[in-house]
Symmetry: D2
Subunit: 252 residues, 4 copies
């Protein structure tokens, strides 16, 4: 059974900051956001976690193995290097969607995302070490079959992008409703999902659903382990097996 | 009349690189991609251009005012600092979608995105200085009405994200079909569109369409100028006016 | 005749910030400083300027070709992305040392480096476009003969470093006193000097002085042009000629 | 008794790379070097280590607590994100100078720094966990008394810099010869030394030596702990005590 530890990362009072005293230059905001994400990716990644950029002002991390002290240090390190601060809220649940729900509630209880006085909140409890298991995290790595041949090398780049986006939009909603799982676009034609225990049939359904709804063909490699990093790497290797052996769903 | 200069940016042979000799760690790929985008944002932004991350391995820039030498220098600078190289293809058209279509064709003609021998391509012609005008670039900056109150401070963060994504997915397709315009999610609840001459009625239709299709309420500030930076800043100020005066569409 | 435009860059109130409310983690300060330098290097470099890290909290840039607006934009961009702000002071003089003297005075007149109220100062005048010439900037690029064979591949790395440092310490003082020129260590065994019109005999003297004082053998390529970037690249090519033809001083 | 674990970090074949096929733009090299240093600072810093930039192409890290796997992961992460690779050599000794000597020898034995075939070397043994103690690392954090008042707010910035450099050049040589200790300039008026067991009298001598030789007044805070991070933070707090109580040498 999975037991996913998720951390909601929220930039404090970001919206108002971007237009105070007047609108800041977009290229600087884009640079700030993407570098903040890159740094968080390394800070969590160095501790075997994964971070997804989501909306950039709100990000989601899979943090099995990171305790409160690690979270505090990451929060401090960002505060030392950026003009903005971040709040963090941690929760654990077999269902990723439920874990994120609890994490969101905890942060909302501390105040609004646009409350100037609500900064550097750190809430919630990490999974205690003795309760951690080999199957806590299930990661599914999807990509689009023949994306380069079918889209990138043939269509107007924006139409390629629309196709990928449609595939993603369908998958994220299906996985959320059918499996309480959270799917994130990670660039190219790749989607990484943090899943509750989903079996082969479950993934086949999801792929089938996306194909029928928007005519985008996916395949998926799945990995399960104690941390996001280990499960994610297993998923990547499984996806390579999909590619080599022309199979839709492979468990690593 | 608009005359948009667009540049398609493509990482050369990126897919194969990410799994050679075996899959690279996801946190490093995420760091690489987001920092490459941040750097391009600065490199184009220092020359009054805008870059959108799109799929990260393929990015789109609005580059009115940048000549071929500037493109070559950006290409060289990335090659000096990253383990990957980029190809660039430039095209100009009143319709942003058509400009990107031509830019895509030029790059596809040079070879596949996964052709190892096709690296650091630089194709296409910039808009000659004497042909540049004050109304070449139209930028529309959309955001979601009361996103913090309706979504961020109330829903599970993933459901907030699904709502924003749905709004974006609808808008990108509508603007593409109805107005030959290209819309890009830029974080938070913000979408920036590069538009052909769209008038107030056109933007009202787009907002209405998104409201009906997925129940997401948008407003939009619009700016027009010689460069993306100038048009984009005018759009931001217009969006502030929307906010203050509670209007759906404002031209800056 | 040279006419060097120099900009003094100073982080506002940095010392106190690093220990408030208590000492910040050194690794974060190091990251902040070196990334700020990297960003400034790109921001000035994109406008054909050079920046030297010097003490990191005080940096020196060669900025021929950059007007006040460019400086203001760079200052704003840093303020948008860092937890600290910078002040800038610009001055022009045939002698680089005198230009930096004037730039320093202007900033000191505005208040102490540790005055909390003195932030984002921008003082001084850029060289007007009509007064710019092909010989405004002279850049000399020094390196150590056979540094890899003599030091890196043979000595304890710290002793290699001591040798390089000694060569640098001697050269910086000699060039300052004898030629009103400013020399900066730029990594490896490389030193870049911003010089007043120095001739071949002047460079030979400097090399001879360093050899006698600390037994470190230098060679130098020299370039002259309208901007730091153009002069610096000419200097690099001249240094390659030194290497190939085994000559101590080459003018590009 | 100290037992310092040092890691020599060397960019593979860097010199030739910077001029192949012809000299690369200096601003890009400066950006590359300083960002590589920033990333290493975070990668080692996230594991309680310290990195010093030294010559940038050769860097020195204090790595007590990092095993071979951590080093391998850092090496891989850099290889995934930069156009250059790094070699690492680890050694342990009560004397920091001797540890770096052994680390240097190990790397030199593997081939020249400019040998194209010698890439991503990882040599040497980390201190086994059971042999680690509370007093393994001694860090001394020096700064210059009244640097802002005496130099920054009064002198031409280059002359301030010459004074700081002279103080550093003297200290680095004295600490190397008298105490087998390695001193690194870290920006501003700060020098951090990795020391063998040096007592109060030893630090007083060093300060006295620098004052007599070049008339630069230093003070120093000293910390001792299992890791560089913990010892370094203790040293910073001790330095604050120096400042508050006007004492030259304080042990934390």
């Amino acid at each position: 059974m999975t037991n996913t530890q998720l951390t909601l990362i929220q930039i404090d009072n970001y919206g108002p900051w971007t237009v105070t005293p007047e609108p800041r230059r977009e290229v600087d905001l884009q640079t700030l956001q993407s570098r903040l994400y890159a740094d968080l990716s390394q800070l969590f990644g160095n501790r075997d976690g994964y971070v997804f950029f989501t909306r950039f002002d709100n990000m989601v991390a899979v943090t099995n193995g990171l305790d409160t002290d690690s979270h505090a240090l990451i929060q401090e390190s960002i505060g030392n290097r950026y003009p903005v601060t971040i709040s963090l809220s941690v929760a654990v649940d077999p269902s990723p969607a439920s874990a994120l729900g609890v994490a969101t509630d905890q942060l909302q209880d501390a105040g609004s995302a646009q409350d100037r006085g609500r900064t550097e909140i750190l809430r919630g409890d990490a999974l205690p070490e003795p309760e951690r298991h080999e199957e806590d995290v299930q990661i599914a790595h999807f990509d689009v079959n023949n994306a380069t041949e079918k889209y990138t090398d043939r269509l107007n780049e924006f139409d390629s992008f629309i196709n990928i986006e449609q595939g993603y939009a369908e998958l994220m909603q299906y996985m959320r409703k059918a499996h309480d799982s959270l799917s994130f676009f990670v660039g190219g034609d790749n989607i990484i999902a943090v899943c509750e225990d989903v079996d082969v049939a479950g993934y086949r359904d999801a792929i089938e659903h996306v194909r029928e709804a928007v005519d985008v063909d996916l395949k998926v490699g799945v990995g399960t382990d104690r941390t996001a990093q280990a499960a994610g790497m297993a998923a990547k290797h499984a996806l390579e097996t999909c590619r080599e052996e022309n199979i839709d769903v492979v468990f690593g």
